[in-house]
């Protein structure tokens, strides 16, 4: 049992990740959250579902992480007045999730200080909620103009720089409002939600298989992580375990996704400090990984390779040889490039000290994933909750305590080498067994399943609920960017505006994964 509380009756959820579920009353939410936070736990995700048809009103779901596993709390809210106690004072990261839950479902955190809209801009009116089952799409179209009350910073010499939603480079859209004095940033306020395209609503009309494709497109750069987390949630409801070979291949895909993204980021981090040599070199390496993916698995980013029940593609003996060669080449090349980065005074001068997030602040705000580990937050699902095949891989967690751009660069190098080592180990274990997937076409009725995977950016979670016929009733994907976007606002403080692109890139957060 991960936590004890007199009113908490935890039920184990089947599946690859240690997870428990409990239905609690609204009054118990804050005390339980307090207890989890005081024990070193964090808030992972918060969302709501419309269960009025089953007579349950609305339900708030809160997932907390402790070292022993996940705890999913479900709080029934009345259909007429769906209100729950605010938890953003316990977990600051809850703020935006609570606002999003209101925008999409109309459930409301009482006593919260901040009730501004978050994912809703002006596409639908504020008294209409897309994730309610009786949402009338045609009648809810709004053409009003968007406005948002940014926090104003006042004082002598303070001015604002608005940036976006269309940015200068090849990036996703979002708005940043800088309040600056001279070059120095006093405050950054983010506004996201521009890429909101109704993903959660789309899931509700999809079959299990279609949903797997959609899950793989919540955030394209983390397609394997999402597809795996989705499959894990489905397998948890169906209570089946994929064949061993499929699990090994999933881990292979996930590590290859990490390798490709880290290579790309290391290149762009060089580019952002005017070291275009770094971009040229790392992107040659990344392209080789992508080409091998394309040749061996049929997709450069491995989309749709992980399916509920197993995997859709196999690795041939010849393919194994190709990947072994690739490993040798990458290790050799990245070693050379790492020493060039480390010995380059100009590069290090820009990296060191930029965008620092102290470990204490990181813990308070719940910074997670790669950025969290660069600020001493020792969380990595592959280590804490090693689902098969990670239970046989002994993943070494990379850690740093400086929390600056340089630390996040170091983390990427360390994780890159570790992923190459894991890829080798995985291939050694990929022997025998031709079964790639168990049949999983239909889920049981009224199921609740959860999956969590350590993607290259951080923890990716997917929760699935099925209706009375076993169809997808509610699917909630959660991106680690929800945790890390608010921390970026702190990381930029007291830095200069021209360092923002570098600091932003060192986090490299997802807009699409957050905006849904």
């Amino acid at each position: 049992m991960p936590i004890k509380h007199p009113n908490l009756h935890l039920e184990r959820i089947n599946g690859a990740i240690p997870a428990w579920r409990a239905r609690i009353s609204g009054a118990d939410l804050q005390p339980i959250c307090h207890a989890v936070r005081d024990g070193g736990g964090r808030l992972l995700a918060l969302w709501g579902s419309d269960e009025r048809e089953q007579g349950n009103g609305f339900v708030l779901h809160v997932v907390l992480v402790k070292e022993t596993g996940l705890v999913c709390l479900s709080v029934a809210l009345s259909a007429g007045q769906p209100v729950y106690p605010d938890i953003s004072r316990i977990f600051p990261v809850a703020n935006r999730m609570q606002r999003a839950a209101y925008d999409l479902l109309g459930i409301y955190a009482s006593e919260s200080q901040d009730h501004r809209q978050w994912l809703r801009h002006a596409a639908w009116p504020d008294d209409s909620f897309p994730l309610r089952k009786d949402f009338d799409e045609a009648a809810s179209r709004s053409d009003e103009l968007d406005s948002y009350p940014f926090v104003q910073v006042e004082g002598q010499g303070v001015h604002e720089i608005p940036v976006g939603p269309v940015h200068a480079g090849i990036i996703e859209p979002g708005h940043f409002r800088f309040s600056v004095v001279g070059e120095k940033v006093l405050r950054l306020e983010e506004r996201l939600g521009y890429t909101h395209k109704g993903i959660e609503k789309r899931f509700e009309s999809m079959t299990l298989q279609q949903g797997a494709r959609l899950a793989g497109r919540v955030s394209g750069d983390s397609t394997v992580a999402y597809a795996w987390a989705y499959a894990m949630a489905a397998e948890s409801i169906a209570n089946i375990r994929p064949p061993d070979r499929a699990l090994w291949l999933r881990a292979l895909f996930l590590e290859r996704e990490r390798i490709a993204n880290h290579l790309g980021d290391l290149g762009y981090l060089g580019n952002d400090v005017a070291f275009s040599f770094g971009f040229a070199q790392f992107w040659i390496l990344k392209e080789q990984v992508l080409r091998n993916n394309g040749a061996l698995f049929g997709h450069r980013y491995l989309m749709d390779s992980v399916i509920p029940g197993g995997v859709a593609v196999d690795l041939s003996t010849e393919g194994k040889r190709v990947l072994e060669q690739e490993c040798i080449m990458l290790e050799q090349q990245v070693h050379i490039l790492r020493s060039i980065y480390e010995e380059h005074a100009g590069v290090q001068d820009r990296f060191i000290g930029a965008g620092r997030v102290e470990p204490k602040l990181a813990a308070q705000l719940g910074l997670c994933g790669l950025a969290g580990r660069a600020s001493s937050q020792a969380w990595d699902c592959r280590v804490q909750f090693p689902c098969a095949p990670y239970d046989r891989l002994d993943v070494q967690m990379a850690m740093h305590r400086n929390g600056d751009v340089a630390a996040r660069v170091t983390l990427r190098f360390d994780e890159l080498f570790e992923s190459l080592r894991l890829q080798r180990d995985i291939m050694v274990n990929l022997i025998g067994g031709d079964e790639l997937a168990r049949t999983l076409n239909q889920l049981p009725a009224h199921g609740f399943g959860i999956g969590m995977v350590e993607g290259w950016r951080g923890e990716v979670m997917v929760a699935i609920q099925t209706d009375g016929e076993g169809h997808l009733d509610r699917v909630h994907p959660h991106d680690p960017s929800w945790q890390n976007w608010p921390v970026l606002e702190h990381a930029i403080m007291d830095n200069i505006v021209p360092d923002f692109p570098l600091i932003n890139k060192s986090f490299n957060l997802s807009y699409s994964g957050h905006d849904l």
Binding site: R141, P165, R202, A280, I284
Partner: protein, 183 residues
């Protein structure tokens, strides 16, 4: 410095030959005269707008700048301002929250201009757009569906995401003269 130079020399030139234009990608008849194309062909500036993609297409657009495809090597580059652009590249189903920003970016590009829709979602709304939707245009409460529902599109490049070669082909098709059908 010695290490950097050594690495550059050892790496050599990786750039591959650019692909040929593909008329199948063209939606609108070529609107530009040969003289303009001759100028564009030598130097083209592109502004990208992600109108709501999953960021998969952005990954491949980044890749066209890598040493293998080396788009800049044939005189085509991405610019920060629509005022400097000749061509607009758009990815994603157009989210309703990006509709205004996309229209404004399009309007800010001086004429003559070209629009290339990149990826399945930009071409037909993709996986994010239900077929049975508002006005049969493939949108939803949050999405306007395909790019041509919002701004005129010259060339469409499908794929999820399209390969860097396909993206280059799309760009080159938009700035090539339209060949007349034989007969």
């Amino acid at each position: 410095m010695y290490q950097i130079l050594k690495q550059i020399i050892k790496t050599g030139i990786r750039t591959e030959a650019a692909p040929q234009p593909d008329e199948a990608m063209r939606i609108e008849p070529q609107r530009l005269q040969q003289q303009i194309l001759d100028v564009f062909g030598g130097a083209l500036n592109i502004r990208l707008v992600d109108a709501g993609s999953c960021n998969g297409c952005e990954l491949e657009i980044h890749a066209v700048n890598n040493a293998y495809y080396n788009l800049e090597g044939i005189g085509i580059k991405f610019v920060a301002s629509p005022r400097h652009a000749d061509m607009l590249l758009v990815t994603g189903p157009v989210s309703r929250h990006m509709e205004v920003a996309l229209k404004r970016t399009f309007d800010a590009i001086p004429d003559p201009k070209l629009v290339v829709a990149i990826g399945e979602c930009a071409c037909d709304g993709g996986i994010f757009s239900p077929t049975h939707s508002i006005g049969d245009k493939g949108g939803s409460y949050a999405s306007c569906g395909k790019v041509s529902n919002v701004i005129p599109v010259d060339v469409a490049v499908s794929g999820c995401p399209p390969t860097p070669t396909a993206i280059m082909q799309g760009i080159l098709t938009a700035i090539s003269a339209q060949r007349r059908e034989a007969g």
